[in-house]
């Protein structure tokens, strides 16, 4: 089992809290839930998916969606780290990035082991452009972390499902031997 994403929840909570208080109000307000900017202005893929589509995802597609999301998110969080002025926040974000990088490596490794084609590791995530105005930057940063939280929640469910399917596959194979 290559996937070690449990520790991200702890880090995730710390980083999000710190980043939100860094952004200040209204981002740091507890009930703050703005509408999502449309996909052209926010290139981080949304974790949201229809129930039936998610359940029906084939193993390769499931992994590929995770891989694509985390490669974009990795770039996005790196950009956030680069553009913050607070040293503590910057080091937290960079530390988080190394975790994300590890996760991405695990996903790619798993895809290769299972024989699925994966993105080449050195490709910079397409479509993630650096930000312009600082106001837009804050909103973008807010949404990057929002989507990151959703993806971490989703990945836990994705990998649980994958594990079950692969275990079933393994017992079938074992039974045949």
């Amino acid at each position: 089992n290559h996937i070690q994403n449990k520790s991200f929840c702890v880090h995730n909570v710390c980083v999000c809290t710190v980043y939100l208080s860094y952004l200040g109000p209204p981002f740091s307000d507890p009930g703050f839930s703005p509408p999502r900017p449309n996909s052209s202005s926010l290139s981080v893929p949304s974790a949201a998916t229809r129930v039936d589509l998610w359940r029906g995802l084939e193993n390769g597609a499931r992994l590929a969606q995770n891989q694509r999301a985390y490669s974009v998110l990795l770039c996005a969080v790196r950009e956030l780290a680069r553009s913050t002025l607070c040293p503590y926040l910057q080091s937290s974000l960079m530390h988080f990035c190394s975790g994300l990088s590890g996760l991405l490596g695990s996903i790619s490794g798993l895809m290769n082991a299972l024989g699925y084609t994966s993105l080449p590791p050195s490709t910079p995530a397409q479509g993630y452009a650096p930000l312009l105005s600082s106001q837009f930057q804050n909103m973008e940063g807010f949404w990057v972390l929002r989507e990151l939280q959703s993806w971490l929640w989703r990945s836990a469910k994705d990998f649980t499902r994958l594990k079950k399917r692969l275990q079933r596959l393994a017992t079938t194979v074992h039974g045949l031997n």
Partner: protein, 281 residues
């Protein structure tokens, strides 16, 4: 031919009139809901202000603190003992003119709402209750919002205070907002809760759903309850309904009927075992 049709119509009309008259005489009492502690005015039908009436409650004289003004009975600072069927009789002919079923109660306070998912990833359910009784019939209205859109809410057929909602999508970055309003004749009150999909205690059932407790003492009765949590992520579910069980000391004889465990006089209080079982999902 026309005669038969006319006769038939007359018969039907007569039947309708008879049924209507019967209903009117049965239908005497109307319900009046009033707040505990308030002064209550009951009006006898549509009589004039100078009419003289006699009031009875449940067939007996009205003994509570009151005032009578023409066709009106005013009870002071009502309480639960004021409940009853009040009848008014016009003087001097003694004919009953009206019947009022007085029900005393309270307006609702904000309900307590909780939501959980036990059918993940299909949907979640919410349940609510009032901390303080209202003593009169109280209904609930529920609305659920997600990403500024209302979601379809299905009321539970069995549990009056429960509703079910299907997830429109999974893994969204927007919270769900559930608003429950308690309504009765005396007022309304609502409360709302907001939550993310990841925080409402989700459990996906796996194949292995049995467990053997190996360290129970023979002859001792136990109360067993179960809670579950998704191993990777999520929160613990509510405790299940309790089950009573006693590990047997000898080979069990065939049971002809199931009985609740009897509490033998003199035994100590039943020990409670709450086993946290985490299933490997």
């Amino acid at each position: 031919m026309a005669n038969i049709v006319t006769s038939f119509c007359c018969v039907v009309l007569a039947a309708v009139v008879v049924v209507y008259a019967q209903r009117r005489s049965q239908q005497g009492a109307r319900i009046q809901y009033e707040k505990i502690g308030s002064d209550v005015t009951m009006q006898c039908g549509s009589l004039d202000n100078d009419a003289s009436v006699t009031w009875k409650v449940n067939g007996t004289d009205v003994k509570a603190r009151r005032r009578e003004e023409g066709p009106r009975l005013i009870l002071m600072e009502v309480n639960m003992s004021s409940n009853g069927l009040y009848s008014c009789f016009q003087n001097p002919d003694g004919q009953r003119r009206d019947q009022i079923n007085l029900r005393v109660g309270l307006p609702p306070k904000e309900p307590q709402v909780t939501c959980r998912s036990n059918t993940y990833p299909k949907g979640f359910y919410c349940s609510w209750h009032l901390q303080h009784p209202t003593y009169i019939p109280t209904d609930f209205e529920v609305d659920v919002q997600h990403n500024q859109r209302p979601l379809e809410v299905t009321r539970d057929e069995v549990h009056k205070n429960r509703c079910h909602v299907k997830f429109p999508e999974l893994f969204t970055s927007f919270p769900y907002r559930v608003n429950v309003t308690a309504v009765n004749s005396l007022g309304r009150a609502s409360s709302a809760i907001s939550f993310e999909e990841s925080s409402i205690g989700t459990v996906e059932l796996s194949d292995s759903t049995s467990h053997t407790i190996t360290d129970a003492y023979a002859g001792k009765e136990y109360i067993i309850q179960l809670a579950a949590k998704d191993m990777e992520i999520g929160t613990w579910s509510d405790w299940s309904v309790a089950v009573h069980a006693t590990p047997w000391m000898e080979e069990p004889k065939p049971i002809t009927s199931t009985t609740e465990s009897d509490i033998i006089p003199g035994m100590h209080e039943l020990p409670t075992v709450r086993t946290l079982l985490s299933y490997s999902l």
